[in-house]
């Protein structure tokens, strides 16, 4: 792959925002077009690493539905480079060991063109080294900061969902200016929670606020009330984020603890992802705020893209399955699968991908991308991709619980989510 023409793109992010570089990226790569003639009728095989069992199973089910819907849409539109797309699904058990084995299986057993999927950071970090060694592009939808921090490798990309660092720091201005300056943070005592702790406390201090207490909850915990007395009396805002099966207990007990007199509460929707807002005990959330990756409830100014996306995946205006209103989706995250698959499509078309021999070309084509305007391919909003850090940036939504529904109160623009590059993967060889 070393003789492939390398494109040198120089752009400032602000100006790049105004251009359509997905198209431009393709235009800068005319030499690759010569591969276009070598098309076959074989389907393009995308290995989908699914959390079918283990603690990530709620997410896995919706990641699966979203991915199937995206593939159907792509295939109905003629596939990629005239070839149909086939998802090859394997369960990773939400376990890093099995995750790595599954990536091997994609590369060496199923002859997949690329690997894709998966949310939980430990599975991604456990799998990524194998993807790099097997030289199979690995597109993750994890929202972890691991890609952009430089911990992984050139074969691992996150073009469809923003990372925790950018999400968290984009929340600080809103929290500080609307809710309060003295924040108590409650988060799970593992890496995902620590990212929240570190990035948010830095960001809120930059806004003139302070974190008055940090409460780290051990991951094996199932009851939470005993930790809440640590919340200092002078707390103005509670910042909470929790993951795993006990999230609803956590939020419910938070409400029972405060009773009628609560401070302002700001949470990451992870604390209630896949949970019905009408669940018993959640009434106290009325008037509190949530970060949402993508607004669960159809908003008054809903775009046609969001309408198309909901209809394709089978989600109603309340973010639940159309066949079962109690079956609430992981709406704030799962759009990432849809957008990632469309990025893969755009990348494969840009480099006229023909087969595994073109894997490096595919990565270069994705690295060359910058702007991704809001569209059916990107229903969550306009994105900006950073080819050096392999990480995408996009808008973040803050919603207020109003009459039991999440109504968007503030949208943080891409500018609020950017931070200096921590790695340049393009300098690594293939």
């Amino acid at each position: 792959m070393s003789q492939t023409p390398k494109t040198k793109l120089t752009f400032s992010r602000r100006t790049a925002l105004k251009t359509l570089a997905a198209g431009a990226g393709a235009a800068t790569l005319p030499l690759w077009a010569r591969y276009a003639g070598a098309q076959t009728s074989e389907p393009i095989r995308i290995g989908f690493q699914k959390h079918a069992t283990g603690i990530g199973a709620s997410y896995g089910r919706w990641y699966d539905r979203t991915s199937q819907a995206a593939v159907k849409l792509i295939n109905d539109g003629g596939g990629i480079n005239g070839r149909m797309v086939e998802l090859v699904t394997e369960d990773d058990g939400t376990d890093p060991k099995r995750g790595a084995e599954v990536v091997e299986k994609f590369a060496t057993q199923h002859n997949c063109d690329i690997g894709f999927g998966t949310l939980f950071s430990h599975v991604v970090i456990g799998s990524a080294p194998r993807a790099g060694e097997l030289k199979i592009p690995y597109f993750v939808v994890s929202e972890g900061h691991h890609v952009a921090s430089g911990a992984l490798n050139r074969y691992t990309l996150q073009p469809g969902i923003t990372d925790v660092k950018s999400q968290v720091q984009a929340m600080a201005p809103f929290v500080a200016s609307n809710l309060g300056k003295k924040v108590t943070m409650i988060f799970p005592d593992f890496a995902f929670g620590h990212d929240h702790r570190d990035y948010f406390s830095a960001a809120i201090e930059a806004q003139g606020g302070e974190v008055v207490e940090m409460i780290a909850i051990p991951p094996t915990e199932t009851s939470f009330t005993k930790y809440f007395p640590r919340i200092p009396r002078d707390t103005e805002v509670i910042y909470h984020v929790m993951v795993g099966p006990a999230v609803l207990t956590f939020v419910k007990e938070l409400g029972e603890f405060f009773g009628p007199s609560r401070p302002e509460i700001f949470g990451f929707i992870d604390s209630l992802e896949a949970v019905d807002m009408a669940s018993p005990g959640l009434e106290f959330l009325e008037g509190t705020y949530f970060w949402e990756g993508n607004p669960r409830y159809a908003q008054a100014d809903q775009t046609d893209y969001d309408k198309t996306f909901r209809a394709a995946v089978g989600v109603d205006d309340n973010g639940a399955s159309v066949s079962d209103p109690k079956d609430v989706s992981t709406y704030a995250h799962m759009f990432g699968c849809w957008e990632t698959l469309h990025v893969i499509k755009a990348g494969m078309e840009a480099c006229s991908y023909t087969g595994p021999a073109d894997r490096a070309l595919l990565i270069e084509a994705v690295e060359a991308m910058t702007d991704m305007p809001q569209s059916t391919a990107h229903p969550q909003g306009t994105k900006l991709f950073n080819g050096k850090t392999h990480q995408v940036f996009g808008p973040q939504y803050i919603s207020k619980v109003t009459n039991g529904k999440l109504i968007v109160a503030h949208t943080a623009g891409i500018e609020d989510t950017l931070y200096p590059d921590e790695v340049d993967y393009t300098t690594q060889s293939f």
Binding site: A216, T220, K226, P229, I231, P245, T249, G259, G281
Partner: protein
């Protein structure tokens, strides 16, 4: 929060945990005591109790009270019957060999988890509590005018949590009465002491085993029903419960019901109270090591008399 109210809150929360733990562990202890086997799938019976409670309450509909009572009756019976069936088809054929039983019940654990995942799904689902009033609790303080009553921020418990504590006490009293006062209990105790002699005296040991296994599972299921309005039913909830119950049984001394209950109190309360003094994860580590050291220096358990 001030130290005093904090401690009181931690104690109350610890009592709720202790109540549920005592139920699960007494089931495990009964099985271990009488049958001398470790049932690794015991946590799954607890999970099934919670899951069936969700099913029953959503099927019954109507008033949450009625639905909850229905769940309290149906879930333990269904789970107990299932366990009895598992005993007759699998454990009996293994001759209750301790090691083989461990592997077989691990297999059972996989089967139950997967079946639940396939039918019930991966989500944690809530059950409406039959009643759930938040009760703010007062605290006393030495002020300028002598002792004063005041209502600290956040010091509260719900009526349902109090009910869980009461219900657990009632159920355990029934179990205790059954073991010590009834003929069934006598037969069980005889089998526990010496199953061969019991057999010689005409006690149908196999049927006793099946019944004990069923009752043990039923107790775990009851705990599952009681906890589900506080926590939600989830297909992986059995794992941590099994670990804790296991610890309680060993600390309490094998097969000793009073010891099990005391140990449940000890573990439940220490879990809450240690978290008052240390950062949460460190508190967990300390609590875990405490259990280990209790056993290292008193291997028969705190309340057992025979060596384990």
């Amino acid at each position: 929060m001030d130290f005093g109210p904090f401690l009181m809150l931690a104690t109350l929360e610890g009592l709720v945990l202790a109540a549920v733990l005592a139920l699960i562990a007494s089931g495990l202890s009964l099985v271990f005591g009488v049958m001398r086997v470790v049932n690794v799938a015991h946590g799954e019976f607890y999970m099934l109790g919670a899951v069936i409670a969700w099913w029953v309450t959503s099927a019954v509909g109507g008033s949450p009270q009625l639905a909850f009572v229905a769940a309290l009756v149906i879930a333990p019976i269904v789970v107990g019957a299932l366990a009895t069936l598992a005993d007759m088809t699998i454990l009996k054929r293994l001759d209750y060999d301790p090691e083989r039983t461990i592997v077989a019940t691990i297999g059972l654990l996989y089967i139950l988890q997967q079946l639940t995942l396939m039918t019930y799904g991966a989500d944690a689902r809530p059950v409406v509590p039959p009643f759930n009033t938040r009760l703010a609790l007062p605290w006393v303080e030495l002020g300028d005018n002598g002792l004063q009553l005041f209502w600290p921020w956040g010091l509260s418990i719900t009526s349902y949590k109090l009910f869980v504590i009461g219900a657990a006490v009632a159920i355990l009293l029934v179990v205790w009465a059954m073991m010590t006062r009834s003929r069934v209990g006598l037969v069980m105790r005889a089998t526990q002491l010496d199953s061969e002699t019991a057999q010689a005296f005409g006690i149908p040991v196999e049927r006793v085993y099946a019944m004990v296994f069923g009752i043990g599972a039923g107790l775990a299921a009851l705990a599952g029903v009681l906890i589900v309005p506080i926590q939600q039913a989830h297909y992986l909830m059995g794992g941590d419960a099994l670990l804790l119950a296991f610890i309680v049984v060993i600390i309490g001394g094998l097969g000793s019901l009073p010891g099990t209950i005391l140990a449940a109190l000890l573990i439940g309360l220490s879990d809450g109270i240690i978290s008052v003094f240390f950062s949460p994860t460190l508190a967990k580590i300390i609590a875990t090591l405490l259990v280990a050291f209790v056993l290292v220096f008193r291997p028969q358990g705190l309340f057992g008399t025979r060596p384990a």
